[in-house]
């Protein structure tokens, strides 16, 4: 447990003076490539600042390891509803928020930004700011804390985050059914999403639909019984999937993550495909250039990004110019000299 806020603030302020870009680093659990900037390491800024189980709120410093946080929450039978992965690889809370990666429960419980109640950041001028707070209902000021999710640090170096918690499900059960036709799989997952209130994960791969139910014994039993002849499998399949350890990922081909409407009819790519998030996220292992996929997905109201997170990636090319301009203007208002992970939404 340590508080190096002053040090971090001073470093960003100095970088602002010199207009020298920074690479913000947590546990390094997700990145495969980086930029050659001066590194500002958050891992020494760690510890749980405040945890009130009866308030379902935890306030934690950005360098705190996800593993440590999850252990503490577990003692009170509480969890982060969005199930972030890579705790075992040294993920920090700052990185969890900044990359915005959520696990299998995403369509059923919400994403990273749905659980943020407040954030303390250092902006690109080296100023410490606090937005939101520790309560769920708070409409004072711009809610800048939510857009921190997925912003890759470019809207501020996270110092502290307050997050909403949920009770740990009392039981979980996973079931699997043969479903040779991907389209039928998509339709099944869609209909279960409406009828089974305890459904918290669903994916289709190579002829099988695998589903997870979480909640009270009664709620889970009710939904599992309604399925009929589905075989019981381990819930760890979903943990594997979230950590990209599922057999689908054992491929030499580049993997693209497509975001579509969940009931989108099956995308008939010739390549291997895993349909996740109840249909809303589709992984494709392919050497088709990603730009072609992006065009196709765009025409369906969706998007495609490479699986491997890369600090040289910026999504501005994927959007209309008018929207890109708003991104740049927002960024400039917070980081005028573009020193915080400069490439993301930088140019």
């Amino acid at each position: 447990m340590a508080n190096i806020e002053r040090v971090l603030q001073a470093r960003v302020a100095a970088a602002y003076q010199n207009a020298s870009p920074l690479t913000i680093q947590g546990g390094g659990s997700k990145f495969v490539a980086g930029q050659a900037n001066e590194i500002i390491d958050l891992t020494a800024h760690c510890g749980i600042v405040d945890y009130s189980p009866s308030e379902l709120v935890v306030v934690v410093r950005a360098g705190t390891s996800l593993q440590e946080l999850q252990k503490e929450l577990s003692k009170n039978d509480q969890i982060l509803g969005f199930e972030p992965p890579y705790a075992d690889k040294g993920a920090t809370i700052g990185g969890v928020i900044a990359t915005g990666f959520a696990g299998s429960a995403r369509p059923y419980r919400g994403g990273v930004r749905d659980y943020i109640l407040g954030a303390k950041i250092v902006n690109g001028k080296g100023e410490v700011l606090q937005f939101g707070g520790k309560v769920m209902k708070n409409v004072a000021g711009f809610d800048l804390f939510r857009p921190m999710a997925g912003a890759m640090g470019s809207l501020g170096v996270l110092l502290e985050v307050s997050m909403r918690l949920i009770p740990k499900p009392i039981v979980q059960a996973a079931r699997q059914v043969a479903c040779a036709d991907a389209q039928k799989g998509i339709e099944l997952m869609s209909s279960l999403g409406k009828n089974c209130l305890s459904l918290t994960a669903a994916y289709w791969y190579q002829g099988y639909c695998t589903l997870r139910f979480s909640g009270s014994e009664q709620a889970v039993a009710h939904d599992v019984e309604s399925l009929g002849e589905f075989s019981a499998v381990s819930v760890s399949q979903f943990v594997q999937l979230d950590h990209r350890q599922h057999p689908f990922f054992e491929t030499a081909l580049p993997i693209v993550r497509c975001s579509v409407k969940p009931a989108q009819s099956h995308l008939n790519f010739p390549d291997d495909q895993l349909i996740d998030w109840g249909g809303g996220q589709r992984f494709v292992a392919t050497d088709t250039p990603i730009t072609m996929l992006q065009e196709q997905l765009h025409s369906l109201g969706g998007s495609a990004v490479p699986l491997d997170v890369n600090r040289n990636y910026s999504p501005l090319a994927l959007m209309p110019t008018s929207l890109a301009d708003v991104h740049k203007a927002l960024r400039s208002a917070i980081d005028p000299k573009r020193i915080l992970n400069p490439i993301y939404c930088g140019n």
Binding site: S52, P53, S54, E55, N76, D77, R106, P107, G110, G111, R113, D114, E127, Q130, V135, M136, K137, N138, V139, A140, G141, F142, D143, L144, R146, P147, A149, G150, A151, L155, P167, S190, G193, K194, N195, L197, S216, Q218, A219, H222, R257, S259, K261, P262, A263, G280, Q281, S303, L318, M319, S322, L323, A324, V326, A329, L330, R331, A333, I334, C345
Partner: protein
């Protein structure tokens, strides 16, 4: 607020604007007569009335674009307006500007049953969405008090909540995509109909931004399966601390009620006189706890909540025996504001959020202040999420009482901030609490807000004077005036 009289150059500019608008919009979409503009001169904060120069009601996105461009060109302030149910003056007109109402953008465009979304124009009423999809076994979850009248566009601008938001989230958790028209007349799409939208989460920034960033014209909302069943338990307590413990234990025990509300003795008595919901008038506090889902799931939760209430010293427990009784239990809570309005010439409705564990401390603090200022207070509390509505009873006709009430109200907000809460849980900052923003945020943070606002609105035309205070601002008004029981929009249920 700038109250300078209109100079001749400004008059030209208004006339220019009017001519431009009439060349693009039908005549009945541009209102200039005082008589016809009168209904727009205030929102739910009726103490603040301003006559605008014009009220404009576009019928299409293209017309909205034309209005925005024309206002930018003539540097005319724009106050966006949904149904005008805002309780903080968010839609109070600017005397030199226009009110831009989305009342005519009232079409439900698409209902996507398979994807469980609905695409609606921003002037569609909140409840109308649920009504339109009820036959499909779906509904739109956020249920602010004014939902029979308020618009989804206004809901997005205010990040509206409601009784069910602990379990089902606020507006920001239930909206996928918004189309917004900028001052320069561009249509931008924030978010998407998929779970990952490339780039920044501009939708999250827009939600709750109180009209400062652009004009919301179209919204894609998430629809949820309607819960098969709901049950309501009323618990009676003779001590505030015990009720506060019960609230904390229910939540700490892993139960997320669909609705969880608290009322104190003054509120209970006022309500019982008015609607006869069967509330015990000698109770210090009552809690209403609603659980929803499938029956098999509700029963064990009900047992657990019952046990907790008993262990915390509840003196009586009543379970609504059917849907009719459930409605009756809730009718008391829903009529709390008009009930209080019956027993007092005026009342102030406060809106703050506090951590649940601070409830007893804050209510005792309010009671102490009530004695100090000699003004009674009735409290209703969204126990589920900590959102508190103290209602200060006063008489504006008594010399000095209004000012005393406002000072008292300000102290309550200070108390909310002191325990780590916020000055507004759901009613917005608007005009009313702009001064208190200075207490909740420091100068650097307020400067950051201003820079972001400027990035979208360099000329300060979108809802100027609202939500984010200027450097010189230190207004002290921070309450909703209710005079002679005349609540604005008296036909609406109030939470």
């Amino acid at each position: 607020m700038n109250n300078t009289s209109i100079e001749s150059t400004d008059l030209d500019s208004i006339q220019t604007l009017q001519a431009q608008l009439l060349s693009v919009l039908p005549e009945d979409c541009v209102i200039t007569s005082s008589v016809r503009m009168a209904p727009y001169e205030c929102d739910g904060l009726s103490a603040y009335k301003k006559m605008p120069q014009m009220v404009v009601l576009p019928e299409s996105i293209e017309q909205v674009q034309a209005v925005m461009r024309a206002c930018q060109q003539t540097k005319t302030p724009i106050v966006p307006r949904g149904a005008g149910t805002c309780l903080s003056g968010g839609a109070t007109p600017h005397p030199e500007g226009i009110v831009l109402s989305v009342a005519k953008l009232n079409q439900i465009l698409t209902i996507d049953e398979a994807n469980r979304t609905a695409t609606v124009q921003s002037g569609v009423r909140n409840l109308a969405i649920s009504e339109a999809v009820a036959a499909l076994g779906l509904y739109y979850a956020p249920d602010p008090s004014s939902q029979i009248a308020c618009t989804i566009g206004g809901n997005v601008a205010e990040n509206a909540g409601g009784v069910h938001c602990l379990k089902y989230g606020l507006t920001v958790h239930n909206v996928m995509q918004v189309k917004v028209v900028t001052l320069s007349g561009k249509v931008l799409t924030f978010g998407s109909e998929t779970l990952d939208t490339p780039g920044y989460d501009l939708l999250a920034l827009l939600t709750g931004s109180e009209g400062m960033l652009g004009m919301i014209v179209e919204v894609v909302v998430k629809l949820l399966p309607s819960p098969p069943m709901a049950k309501v338990l009323m618990a009676v307590f003779d001590d505030l601390g015990k009720a506060g413990d019960a609230v904390a234990q229910v939540v700490a025990g892993g139960i997320i009620p669909a609705g969880f509300e608290l009322m104190d003795k003054p509120a209970i008595r006022a309500v019982e006189e008015f609607v006869h919901a069967g509330y015990p008038t000698d109770a210090e506090v009552i809690l209403l706890c609603e659980l929803d889902g499938i029956e098999a799931d509700i029963e064990p939760q009900l047992s657990a909540v019952t046990r907790i209430f008993k262990e915390c010293g509840a003196v009586d427990l009543r379970l609504a025996k059917d849907a009719a009784e459930r409605t009756l239990f809730w009718s008391g809570r829903k009529n709390a504001f008009p009930a209080v309005g019956r027993i007092s010439p005026d009342y102030y409705c406060m809106d703050g959020t506090i951590p649940r564990k601070s409830l007893a401390y804050v209510l005792r603090g309010i009671a102490t202040l009530s004695e100090k200022y000699g003004l009674p207070v009735a409290n209703v509390f969204h126990a589920g999420d900590g959102n508190l509505h103290p209602l200060i009873l006063y008489d504006a006709n008594t010399l000095g009482e209004l000012e005393k009430t406002e000072t008292f109200g300000g102290k309550i907000l200070d108390l909310c901030i002191e325990v780590g809460g916020t000055i507004t849980g759901e009613h917005g900052v608007g005009l009313e609490k702009v001064g208190h923003m200075c207490a909740q945020f420091n100068d650097i943070e307020l400067a950051q807000f201003r820079q972001i606002r400027k990035a979208f609105d360099p000329d300060d035309l979108l809802n100027p004077g609202k939500a984010v205070p200027t450097l010189n601002r230190c207004a002290e008004f921070n309450g909703m005036h209710v005079h002679d029981g005349q609540l604005p929009h008296p036909e609406l249920e109030r939470f």
